[in-house]
Symmetry: C2
Subunit: 361 residues, 2 copies
């Protein structure tokens, strides 16, 4: 089967090609980022978004810096320093998505172990660039594998038939594979289950309307687009069997940071006795964050709210609050699906255990 | 004090002037409706919206039809028939707002009692037109008085200081006076209470972003605009003291139909122990509707969701559900504020009693 969704990011030695998701679904343009600053700008300006693919993009960004240093003939120490600085720049772009920091630390660790001057011929900056790029590609490949595993595990939670409510975008555009929450939906659909997806448009950036509705359409999964405010009456009308969303960061206790509006869906799901599931790669679990209270929620440009789609709605002096994420407490989460399977409460314990399994693998 | 908000509708013998709220806040244009069809189109296309002012507009629409018949030299029976047909046309525009039917029935009742051939010189079609116009003006005046009374009663529910979350638009643009929910906020503000309003942008038509944020700005009431999905995290963060909204129809048991998204706010308010108040003129109470289950929820044009602000987002073949309203069950409503004061549960009983007081007045 030809994959009908364009790859969100392509890492090369001399460039990171970023699909400009802001132009979707109308145009499929790639930005050619030839510097770390251009990669960082693509992340900050939401040309690329979604926690898993942000990690992949950042990893390719570090690889780009290392290759640039090698190309300029920098010495080995200087090349490593360039890679580290690139990592800092990329970590600073979006504070909530833990995957960026996780991926940056991972490629830098690979560089330090395999590519530093202390390791014989690894003192070659060109070798360092190779190591970082290879590690970034490994992260991408592993993410694809994680998506497949998440999809398989998550699909088991989906009855047949099922009306599924989702929020934001969790598909091929934001991962290295078939997606997280959407990967589970796609897996269930391909297994022959009769799934129908209510797609929240997801203001302010409309990832649901622009990306999820489009991806599901291309993939042949039945879906209906709704304004975010419609979720409550859909549930009250018995039209939602489960809520299934992604995550930007999962704290050690199972609290989940995800796109603004997710928390309201979790409260509504509880009120209506509907399961609320979160699907994410284990790299979204940040065990150094004890609970949701410790998650920094990014406040974005007020223009996203004042001028939706660039059309000025509220006057430029209208005060705006624009938190990009909210935090859903663990007690509202029915289960978390990662590549290690379906994890249930008590999350403090079950996440720790899943992490140990992973560490041992 | 000069009223800084333009009057939403002006009824004349030969025209109904409708402020085109779709152009707000950028332009203050009036549509000159010279036929009932033009008035109906202005209502259907949301040039004018908001339950109370829809009633006023419909009443002026019937008056326009009666004056038209008189101007054409129609006979008295024919003129009355024209007015009745106009009423039918206007009632069909938007099924959820009960105020349209209420106002149409009221001006037609006045016409039948005071303006029909059976009543001596009232057989003059020109007199019929006068009677209908006078009754429409009375409805407008009474709505202004109701708003003042709602404002006074509602302001008592607002602590000092208070962070108030509101949805859609309930101000001067949708009533004949200072507004319903927003009238209460304005009254509290003018009484010196330190109020701050969280304004839901209210997708899909963005009445909050375009109208409420603008009105409150002009009135000097502190406000902050947010995406609809932000309400949950504002409440979780302790930043909301009460929710205060309007109503398009209130059933006999206290169930409330209001702009899509209202029900979700009511569930969130209950979850956080925050009061959820509804403010509306008593004409929004429809005692012939036993409960919310009997309220027809209008399904609007999918383009409102697919192409926000006219910008095509989701492709034209994307399936959309676009219910304009939802129903909040009475058990989630802390109090209903009408011109008869603050009414609390059991609403079946308290609404009936308030109606009797009104009937006797």
């Amino acid at each position: 089967v030809t994959d009908p969704i364009p790859t969100p990011v392509r890492g090369q030695r001399d460039a990171v090609l970023v699909l400009d998701q802001r132009a979707l679904p109308h145009r499929e343009d790639y930005l050619e980022c030839r510097s770390v600053e251009e990669v960082a700008a693509a992340i900050r300006d939401l040309a690329v978004r979604g926690a898993p693919v942000l990690g992949i993009t950042a990893a390719f960004g570090v690889a780009l810096a290392a290759a640039g240093a090698a190309g300029r003939g920098d010495g080995p120490e200087e090349a490593l320093e360039q890679a580290r600085q690139a990592g800092q720049t990329l970590k600073a772009t979006r504070p909530t998505a833990v995957n960026i920091a996780w991926a940056v630390d991972r490629v830098l660790a690979a560089a330090t172990i395999e590519g530093t001057p202390s390791e014989g011929d690894a003192g070659d900056p060109s070798r360092l660039a190779d190591v970082v790029l290879a590690e970034a590609e490994r992260i991408e490949r592993e993410d694809a594998e994680a998506c497949a595993a998440i999809g398989a595990a998550g699909a088991e939670l989906i009855p047949d038939p099922a009306n599924i409510l989702t929020h934001c975008n969790t598909g091929m555009l934001c991962t290295g594979g078939i997606g997280t929450a959407q990967g589970a939906i796609l897996t269930a659909h391909r297994a022959g289950k009769r799934v129908h997806v209510w797609v929240d448009e997801t203001r302010p950036v409309l990832q649901g309307a622009r990306l999820t509705a489009w991806e599901l359409g291309r993939l042949g999964v039945p879906r209906t687009l709704v304004a975010d405010g419609a979720a409550g009456s859909l549930m009250a009308g018995g039209k939602v069997d489960l809520v299934l969303v992604g995550a930007d960061r999962i704290a050690a206790n199972g609290d989940v940071a995800n796109k603004i509006g997710t928390y309201g869906l979790a409260v509504l799901a509880q009120h209506h006795g509907i399961p609320f599931y979160v699907a994410a790669p284990f790299s979204s679990v940040d065990r150094s964050t004890p609970s949701g209270a410790h998650i920094i929620v990014e406040e974005r440009d007020p223009a996203e709210v004042r001028a939706p789609l660039g059309v000025q709605m509220a006057s430029a002096d209208t005060p705006v609050a624009n938190p990009a994420f909210d935090v859903t407490p663990a007690e509202l989460v029915s289960a978390i699906v990662t590549e290690h399977g379906v994890i249930r409460s008590p999350f403090q314990e079950t996440l720790r255990r899943a992490g140990s399994v992973r560490g041992a693998a």
